[in-house]
Amino acid sequence: MSSDISNSGHKPDGGSAPQSAPPLSKPKFWNDPKKRSLLFQILLLTALGFVFYTIIENTLTNLEQRGMTTGFDFLSREAGFGIAMSLIDYTEASSYGMTFIVGLLNTILIAVMGIIAATILGFILGVARLSDNWLIAKFSALYIEVFRNIPLLLQIFFWYYAVLRTLPAPRQSIEFLGSFLNNRGLIVPAPVPEDGFGLVIMGFFGAIVASWFIARWSRKRQELTGQQFPVILTSIGLIVGVPLLLFLFSGLPLGLDHPELKGFNFKGGITVIPELMALWLALSIYTAAFIAETVRAGILAVSHGQTEAATALGMSKAKTLRLIVIPQAMRVVIPPLTSQYLNLTKNSSLATAIGYPDLVNVFAGTTLNQTGQAIEVIAMTMAVYLTLSLLTSFFMNWYNARIQLTER
């Protein structure tokens, strides 16, 4: 904005300068476009600041007049209500501030799970839609058209009420691989690390570091000699193999906490509540349809000449896709992909409709209502979504900048 104003102000100034050149007196500051524009900007900022100050001041005064409590003291008060699912220790005796954190973590959990699933599914579908196989291409097209065009809320309801609600009761659970599926959720055995499991974890991270060095070495070698090294296969071998070997040699240091039906519900194991499953399925499936279209657009944006050139060089189809098409398509795909990730994160607030304890349900729901401090609670909730979105978009912009085509 500032450059705009000063630029447009510059031209008449530049034009009039030669005429009034001989008597060189300092122009009055209001005749100096630079200072003038600065003045206007300061005035505008002051006015804006005043407007916000008035809004906040008036709100506070009026809230006080109505006898409504304000401020953030409530965050340290005891919450006194239970939450169905929490990633951290939470009891009814925890504070309202803790309900904020529990809700926030649950929101992040669903967002991350959704983003991973939607990305994988979306990329497969996007590539599949361009497949030469008629059946695969049409299936993908059908999937995209169906799921993209049904409102997300309805899809959540579908998964929750029509699919997961109709599962059998705990006593008649569907049992497989030591896990149980019923209308209370999916209960899987929980891994319990024993002595020596730390070694396995260290092996895992060690393998990751080793893979990174191998990748660097192989890149250098390829630049120097042109010889290729199977980096990906080696890395997978290392990352899976090393921890596995360590795990076997240290005497399987991992117990399983098997779920058992006791009383009303299963005790032990990890319970994935149906609300989470429904929301995850709906969000991933819905967003995947959009991501698929983005991926398709990205692939189509790579000129056909590139593919033909690759074929002319004798590259296989898979290799062409992996080495020629996808790296170039990514440049087109990343920015709209970011939008989809942001949408997914924000859409996860629909959780409240089926009672998944996310930030909106727990904090902007129960906590808001029990404390009555709507303005503070909603402001905090909005700030969270804003921050999450900004972080996602910051990361994606960084990644985008990295993979941009560097002109040589």
Binding site: N58, G80, G263, N265, L350, G355, N361, G365, T366, L368
Partner: protein, 337 residues
Amino acid sequence: MKKTLISTAVLMVAMTGTAMAGTLETLKERGALQCGVTSGVPGFSVPDDKGNWKGLDVDVCRAVAAAVLGDATKVKYIPLNAKERFTALVSGEVDVLSRVTTWTQTRDTQLGINFAGVNYYDGQGFLVKKELGLKSVKDLDGATVCVQSGTTTELNMADYFRTHGITYTPVVFDTNDQAAQAFDTGRCDSFTTDLSQAAGLRTRMQDPSAVGALPEVISKEPLGPVVRQGDDTWFNIVKWSFNAMLNAEELGLTSANVDKMKAESSDPNVKRLLGLDGPKGKGLDLADDWAYQIVKQVGNYGEAYERNVGKDSPLGLDRGLNALWNQGGLQYAPPMR
């Protein structure tokens, strides 16, 4: 959520302005009372098959409309869930909140609202499937319980289970209807809410006879109409509209006999209630016959009780605590003089 956001936005804007016109003037200008009700609790506020709202809470709205506008039908019902209700009231979206709302200290003193009376003395209970053969709330150890979010119910349950060392998993829904349905389809082992609402919601379940309430009543739930703080005239109007219904029952005035009584009765209490004598509508800024209009168009408290939740309704609840004070209950209105 959307509603909460909108209400909060309205609240922000409303709080930004410096002064608010009196509720009574605004209402007379508008020509209709805006009344916040539930999104469907049988017996308290629920639309019938023709779309007319019916219920004990609805009758409070109708009584206020009759007193202020002389016409009990001039009410716009705004369904709110438990989470939206106070924000909607304070931001001015509704004039009265008559929505099975429990009177508590926090709500009365920190939310900028006032409770104008108690139109139903209730308590919290637990519904379970009879086939489980449970005898007491203490048998619910390890159970999953469906509950509506943003209610005192949610807090009472947490308190009760915590003090009795019972473990449980709450599954929280936006409306009581959803919570009841989730219980019905087996998502939860139990459903907890105020017993009167449980009785109403039970009638809608697949097999109401297979569902029973556990004997414990774990809380006091005085439910009543609520108004914004800071408008005392309006507070008085709502308070006395309800008191008029109670006093009418005590004096034996019903919608059927009120015209006859008005013409014939020489009882000074009746005369004062009907506005022929005494304080009339003066202090309330209402027409002198405001209480007459309530009794004529809505009826007394007993009539409202019996047709909505009592023996003339599918709920069939006894008067119990909600009988008049001189009949062994708690309902007691200050005299009109």
